[in-house]
């Protein structure tokens, strides 16, 4: 075991998987950087988030591919390479850019296996860097995993700590289905113990981050960190909650969520996305349909408002659901008679 942050865990996992399997390739914009520049020096950047550094020197430009600014071609090429025997890992430097390649994600990659009769595999991983917290404004801060969770044929993963980042990315790369791997830009420096050597986290298994019987809190992505703080604060007051990190949104570990709600009778879902057709709503609906008899209080949804993401510090801070909002919702839910 060693302490690592998420950025390091992802970089090491990419190195490890590329060593392990010569069919693994990586592509995206400025994955290495420096191609065709006056300096001629490659590795000018190693990915703008620093997650793909060192890959090109070690594995060469054939397998570590810097691309033009052409997301449809990036995702499509990743798909085509994966249909032809590779395991392509493509980076969308901002998840917000799914807008310019959405067809390749939702009409192509997601549907190949089904449309073609069930036997065809497209083992591609799309790494999407998402989330607010850097004042990148409306087009560079979104948490839109709901769009891809909605799409049959895709798997959606949202690691929230370095150990899971390693375990889930390893599973994603070795998985025979297309995986949308969401990395929160504000979590890259989050540190924790990471198992050495082989470490796989299975899809569809939530992790129980905190335990308690007063309520069930399901938090997604960066919201897990906020909910941890809140849970610890409330615990010190004797209000213990189950804090569940689904880890994968598709498949979703309904059992763990429902089992917990059957114990606590109360559900709070925390999601950085706007509320409409969100993963928060999706989980709430599932519980309202499948654990209704256990519910003792209205389901609380803690989400961003139904607005685009504003630029100014004060506005973004007010936009993102924070520990205060989470605490208020938990108290309201627990207090409901």
């Amino acid at each position: 075991m060693a302490i690592k942050n998420i950025r390091e865990a992802i970089n090491e996992t990419l190195h490890h998987e590329m060593e392990r399997d010569p069919n693994v390739i990586v592509l995206g914009e400025d994955i290495s950087g420096g191609a065709g520049t006056p300096s001629g020096k490659r590795e000018a950047i190693g990915g703008i988030w620093g997650t793909t550094g060192g890959l090109l020197p070690k594995f060469g430009a054939e397998r570590v591919i810097d691309t033009p600014i052409s997301e449809s071609a990036i995702v499509g090429a990743a798909a085509g390479a994966s249909l032809a025997g590779k395991r392509a890992v493509a980076e969308l430097m901002f998840a917000d850019f799914i807008g310019v390649c959405f067809d390749q994600l939702y009409n192509q990659i997601a549907k190949f296996r089904y449309m073609f009769g069930g036997d065809v595999s497209c083992p591609v991983v799309i790494r999407l860097i998402y989330g607010a917290g850097m004042n990148s404004a409306a087009q560079h801060s979104q948490a839109m995993y709901s769009f891809l969770t909605a799409v049959p044929g895709l798997k959606v993963v949202t690691p929230t700590n370095a150990a899971d980042a390693k375990g889930l990315l390893t599973t994603a790369i070795r998985d025979d289905d297309p995986v949308m791997f969401f990395e929160h830009k504000a979590l890259y420096t989050k540190k924790c113990e990471v198992p050495d050597g082989e470490h796989l986290v299975p899809f569809g298994r939530a992790s129980l981050v905190r335990q308690g019987d007063a309520a069930t809190v399901v938090a997604i992505g960066r919201m897990v960190s906020f909910a941890e703080k809140t849970a610890d604060k409330l615990a010190s007051e004797g209000i213990g909650v189950d804090l569940i990190d689904p880890r994968t949104l598709s498949p979703l570990d309904e059992d763990t969520i429902i089992d917990s709600v059957e114990q606590t009778g109360r559900l709070i879902v925390v999601d950085e996305s706007p509320p409409r057709c969100s993963v928060a709503g999706d989980i709430a609906a599932t519980v309202a349909a499948k654990a209704f008899s256990s519910l003792k209080a209205p389901i609380e949804l803690v989400t961003a408002p139904h607005t685009p993401i504003p630029f100014a510090r004060e506005l973004e801070r007010a936009y993102v659901p924070g520990p205060d909002k989470i605490e208020a919702s938990i108290r309201r839910c627990v207090g409901y008679q």
Partner: protein
């Protein structure tokens, strides 16, 4: 390229099979037994066959909504295709894909595509894979004149150039995107020049002359297999039927199709050329006509009597594991 008699017979059989397949579908569709949208390839056979004749199963192609001809030329089983178009359980895609989504990876057919411009980026990926494998495989993307206005196609061409990928972009300019003319929708209506501007070898040819198509493809293969990067080929051709079956075709000039069928038809032209190269070939061509007719008859008969999928099949084949 020198062409032997077997080459002639093989190419003719392929073209005739496509023609028969489509002409027969045109009739069968009117019985109402075939569901969905069907886009027929009649008239364009020389392109699919001239391009695919020099490919082997290791080489891959991606196709379009008008994909039957590409599938047959690449070696898909005609009966399995017919079953798919009829939506049968034993169809090439178990009845889940239909006419617009036929694929057969065994023969290097990576899929027809219902999205105009959906295929070329995927073809570039297959070409990248070929490069990484140090193989001399190529990857072909078929597309129409209308698709040359879709952004994804330009992105794919540029990326292929940047990565020197062995991708061959084949544009079948049949003069129409649905009910609109290429003279209107394709600025300058010169797809070869669009491709050339990315810095790739770009050739244009006569899509009604399978020999010309094959020669251009031979040049493209020489270039791509040698690792010299992608190639673009534009072929002038025409479709004999509507955009989809049911199209009223009010955009046609009077007698336009009859004229094409009698003057530039690829099969007609082929017979003329072929008999020059091999004087005694006509009987064998007639024999092929007969054999193909029987093949299509039996494919249709098989499809009509084949069992449909069952409701449970809806839920299978979404994921490998979930």
């Amino acid at each position: 390229m020198t062409i032997g008699k077997d080459d002639l017979l093989r190419m003719y059989r392929q073209m005739r099979t496509i023609r028969e397949f489509e002409e027969r579908l045109h009739l069968e569709i009117q019985t109402g037994e075939i569901a969905g949208f069907t886009h027929l390839y009649s008239g364009q056979e020389a392109v699919a066959v001239g391009v695919c004749d020099l490919l082997d199963h290791a080489d891959t192609i991606v196709s379009t909504h008008r994909g039957h001809g590409h599938c047959i030329a690449k070696g898909c089983d005609v009966t399995a295709m017919m079953l798919e178009i009829y939506g049968r359980a034993d169809g090439l895609c178990n009845g889940k894909g239909g006419s617009m989504h036929i694929a057969d990876f065994e023969v290097g057919m990576l899929g027809a595509n219902g999205i105009v411009g959906g295929g070329p980026p995927i073809a570039v990926g297959a070409a990248i894979a070929a490069r990484i494998d140090n193989s001399d495989r190529v990857s072909v993307a078929f597309g129409g004149d209308g698709s040359s206005n879709q952004g994804t196609v330009f992105e794919a061409m540029n990326m292929a150039v940047v990565l020197k990928a062995p991708a061959i972009f084949v544009f079948e300019n049949n003069g129409y995107g649905e009910h609109t003319g290429a003279d209107y929708a394709v600025g300058a209506n010169d797809i070869r020049s669009r491709s050339e501007a990315f810095g790739m070898l770009s050739l244009a040819g006569d899509g009604n002359d399978v020999f010309d198509v094959r020669d251009k493809m031979a040049a493209a293969l020489k270039h791509a297999r040698a690792g010299s990067g992608p190639v673009s080929l534009e072929f002038a051709t025409q479709r004999y039927f509507g955009h989809f079956e049911g199209d009223p075709q009010r955009y046609r000039a009077k007698g336009e199709v009859d004229e094409a069928r009698t003057s530039v038809d690829c099969l007609k032209q082929f017979r003329e050329h072929a008999t020059v190269i091999a004087a005694d070939i006509s009987d064998e061509l007639d024999a092929i006509d007969k054999a193909v007719l029987e093949l299509i008859d039996s494919a249709v008969a098989t499809a009509k009597s084949a069992p449909p999928p069952t409701a449970d099949d809806v839920l299978t084949g979404v994921y490998g594991t979930y």
